[in-house]
Symmetry: C2
Subunit: 398 residues, 2 copies
């Protein structure tokens, strides 16, 4: 009997996508499903970006440079400098989504059996990339009661072993929406310097900060050789399908290693680089409009959730996610039940069970992640569904 690999077996199914067949079944029964389960914004991709692709004039769709088109990397330098991040085009490797940037970071900095410390709950696919790279994720638990603030430094110190090579932070955070303060980022920097660790920073949601300002890991003075920035245009310009991200570091040795992984896969996709290049020239107020819209959605979501009996949702400072604890027995069961056995006026809502975002077994069992990526009217309808569902759900705890 032909056997697949152990890592193929152990690789977790995406907690965000594993409920998809149930959603499809619900739709085929004629039920409208509000998708708050996945960070797929309904915000229109800027027309100027889509037009840039339409007006691409080429005869041969050639490989890009393995690090991405030089013209795009030059534009990115401009974009980052507006965010107080000063780079040269050679410090940027354009990647196939943020996903590839994360994989390159794991591959270039860690060996099989090495450890990366990540505050949990964390973006579930970090687990998948860790399995691909044969790297161990050591979670440090943050709690909904503190709004998912950075756990105490002692927790990190205790988790560090001779195998620890990196700390990873997503800021603003997916799935919690937590926006790390400048002081918290400074704490992480000190840890990285003291223990000689890489600091991986996933800043996919940089622009979406509703309270306070964003501190990039690239702003941390004295940590230049430690910081790897993993970025993507997916959420920034609502261009998830383009699959363009970036791997950025001032550490030349890391950059050269990552470049070899980039060369092996030849080049990032061409068209979305054109889109990304045009995006840098969007009007200065582009993010203001988007941010205002997301803030309204956040406020609506949080307000509606906290008004439901037994529900608690801390106010997230950034990104477009919120975590809520619900009066339920098991979020995996509940989220499936929402799709399989429930409807409210012919509609239901799809949520992501929080268990998939925790690495420690048992955590997140009564929590869900909501991506407030739909317009306010849809959010209200989705909340109506959730409210009705919590009253009916057989596994409710109040």
């Amino acid at each position: 009997m032909l056997k697949i690999s152990t890592r193929g077996t152990e690789m977790p199914a995406s907690p965000i996508r594993k409920l998809v067949p149930y959603a499809e079944a619900a739709k085929s029964r004629g039920i409208k499903v509000y998708h708050l389960n996945i960070g797929q914004p309904d915000i229109e991709t800027p027309a100027a970006c889509l037009d840039a692709v339409k007006h691409t004039d080429l005869k041969v769709l050639e490989y890009s440079h393995s690090a991405g088109n030089e013209s795009y990397r030059k534009k990115l330098v401009e974009y980052y400098s507006r965010n107080g991040i000063y780079l040269t085009p050679n410090e940027i490797i354009v990647t196939t989504g943020g996903s590839e940037a994360i994989l390159f970071g794991f591959m270039a900095c860690l060996d099989a059996g090495d450890e990366v410390i990540i505050p949990e709950p964390f973006y579930a696919n970090y687990n998948g990339f860790a399995i691909q790279a044969d790297v161990h994720v050591k979670p440090i638990s943050s709690s909904i009661t503190t709004g998912f603030a950075l756990p105490p430094i002692e927790d990190f110190e205790q988790a560090i072993t001779p195998k620890t090579k990196a700390i990873m932070v997503c800021n603003p955070n997916n799935p919690t929406g937590y926006l790390y303060s400048a002081a918290e980022m400074e704490t992480l920097k000190q840890l990285a310097l003291k223990h000689n660790l890489f600091l991986f920073a996933d800043e996919a949601y940089r622009e979406f900060c509703y309270e306070g300002t964003h501190t990039s890991a690239m702003h941390l003075k004295g940590a230049e050789q430690h910081v790897i920035l993993m970025d993507t245009i997916s959420k920034r310009y609502s261009a998830c399908g383009g699959r363009i991200g970036a791997f950025i570091t001032k550490n030349k040795t890391v950059l050269e290693a990552a470049m070899k992984f980039a060369q092996a896969r030849l080049s990032p996709p061409f068209y979305a680089q054109v889109l990304g290049e045009a995006a840098v020239d969007l009007p200065a107020d582009y993010f203001d409009t988007t941010k205002k819209e997301y803030k309204l959605r956040r406020d609506t979501t949080v307000q509606r959730l906290n008004a439901m009996p037994g529900v608690f949702c801390p106010n997230p400072g950034g990104a477009f996610y919120a975590m809520a604890s619900l009066p339920i027995d098991d979020s995996d069961v509940f989220c499936q039940w929402l799709l399989e056995s429930f409807s409210h006026e012919g509609e239901t809502v799809m949520l992501a069970p929080a268990t998939g975002f925790y690495s420690t077994p048992g955590l997140g069992k009564n929590e869900v992640r909501l991506a407030y990526v739909l317009n306010v009217e849809s959010i209200h309808k989705a909340m109506d569904c959730l409210q009705a569902a919590l009253a009916q759900y057989p596994g409710k705890t109040i």
Copy 2:
């Protein structure tokens, strides 16, 4: 001191791309460089494909399905059935180039320390994917004297250990251009069945066969559970920059494992799926024209090479590569010298040293790979350069 990973250090630089800085330097000195070093065709991407992208009408550039757009996978079913390969859309995972299909195959079927047998010389980036997956490549040497035909079955039998999990074949072959016969493919099938191995088939160049017909691994009866097809539209439609490929198998367990890797990276690039979908509707004679052009280029290349003193180039049956042995001491030194120290009427030629395609040290030292991706006039000029270079090169052996 912060250290990168061992795999980051051991990862080979692309032998095809590592000479790029020397080519850039040559160009900045005003020298025209004929690029026969890389499989980047000058063939125009079909206008209908480029137009399909231009006419894409969407408001939000959303994630695709992790397995690729269903409409595209349905079209691919149509494409493959024309090639005697009968699939359902669910047996296809659309990947980011053929590169990702190879990586998924290694990850899903092999664990760290497992072995894959590959006839050498082979596509150099297989090494890079093997290092990422922590898998060992066991080369079986094929020889220029037999035109790189499949090595004797005994060589395979001897190389098989308890760690061996797969045999990999690229047909038609990159870098040799060799087209494996139906009998040779049958031999590989028998090996896979006898020793319970996966059979990985890279068929990127399926359409480019000049002598005889193509036998796909998917044609092999009784090996359905063993075969993984790794494919790409890059060369087929001269769409290298799109980054769209496919991972195909009838083995459900493998497919499910690969799907989890696909989910972790969310989705393949959107635009090139549109391009690939349009490509399936190209006129039936599309490949005839392209093939005729490549055949002319091949004939020109092979004829010119074999007319040079001390040069031998077997006639390749497919793809758009040729391997030639040259009367030189060291192909790495020679290829760099061509760019650094040589010019002929203000021009030079860039070739790929064959050493990078062999895994066994010392092999390929007097061989180069030529990608006949330029028009016949350019090929003649490139051959003029090579001829002049061989007469002048300080390390010549005749």
